[in-house]
């Protein structure tokens, strides 16, 4: 398991939007309850993928990816505190240099972070008749609501 210093360093780097690729590459991938390392590893994979194929505005894409990553780390910490067992989402490149988080399991949750509009939009299905669908400014997260939603969509 990573020690506290490592975890704190990872979080600090992400929060400052100054991820060091060498740090990501050399740090062993370890599953942690709060997703910090998982988030970094997924970001690294996505970054490699984007470098291979993506041809649009990489700077804008990177801002969207950091927004998604920061969200994941923040909500991961809250979920860890609640001891809820939730799968880590897929991180997907999206149109307009946005980045989407996708939990496939039914019911479903999708969140798209768009650095261009500085907004995130989400869609979740809690059961056959109940849906949540809204758009908000990036950073204005109601984490309690989102943690509740995540625990429900995975139930």
């Amino acid at each position: 398991m990573p020690n506290v210093a490592e975890k704190s360093y990872a979080y600090k780097e992400v929060a400052k939007h100054k991820l060091s690729y060498s740090f990501i590459i050399t740090t062993p991938v370890v599953y942690t309850k709060d997703w910090s390392f998982e988030a970094l590893y997924r970001y690294y994979r996505l970054r490699k993928f984007i470098d291979s194929y993506y041809q649009d505005d990489k700077q804008l894409f990177e801002k969207s990816a950091f927004a998604a990553l920061g969200f994941l780390i923040d909500i991961g910490k809250r979920i860890a505190k609640k001891s809820i067992d939730i799968d880590y989402p897929e991180i997907l490149p999206d149109e307009d240099d946005a980045v989407s988080l996708f939990w496939e399991k039914s019911p479903r949750l999708s969140i798209t972070f768009d650095a261009k509009s500085e907004k995130f939009a989400y869609y979740g299905r809690l059961d056959n008749s109940s849906e949540i669908n809204d758009e908000k400014v990036i950073g204005s997260y109601d984490f309690d609501f989102l943690a509740w939603m995540l625990s429900n969509v995975q139930s």
Binding site: S52, Y53, Y54, L92, K119, N133, E135
Partner: protein, 145 residues
Amino acid sequence: MISTSWRGCSPMCNPETWFIEDIPDDSVLLYRVFRDWMPELKVRPNVFREAGGSMSTNWDRYSTASETREQVRSEQLPDVFVIALNTEYVRKETALSIKHSPDHSLQNRAHTDVFGLGASRIEKVRLRNYLFDMYESWVWAAQPN
């Protein structure tokens, strides 16, 4: 003389006679997806995208999945996949609008627009999930060798 291999348009056919037809519910729409949309090479909601105001598809009456895949620049071919959309599902579950729109300049009689996905980000995230739910698991209608 117009030379094309598209189904429904032999070298003798005349694109000037192509007209816009009603697409019945039992039709299939063939939709191209690109490798750089899919880190794990899986169909996900993010693959449903508009280009120029609509999702561009081909009606299976006039095109096959392989032909649809090949309607890109040759250097793109290794990165192009095709999935099949059920017309009835698209209409009933998403209320997206399907319009046959033959492309005379590209000699593509099968071309069909799907409108309505890009209304707003909120709508888009919802509609894409509806489209993703079309099949329990997605298979490629055509893919690179």
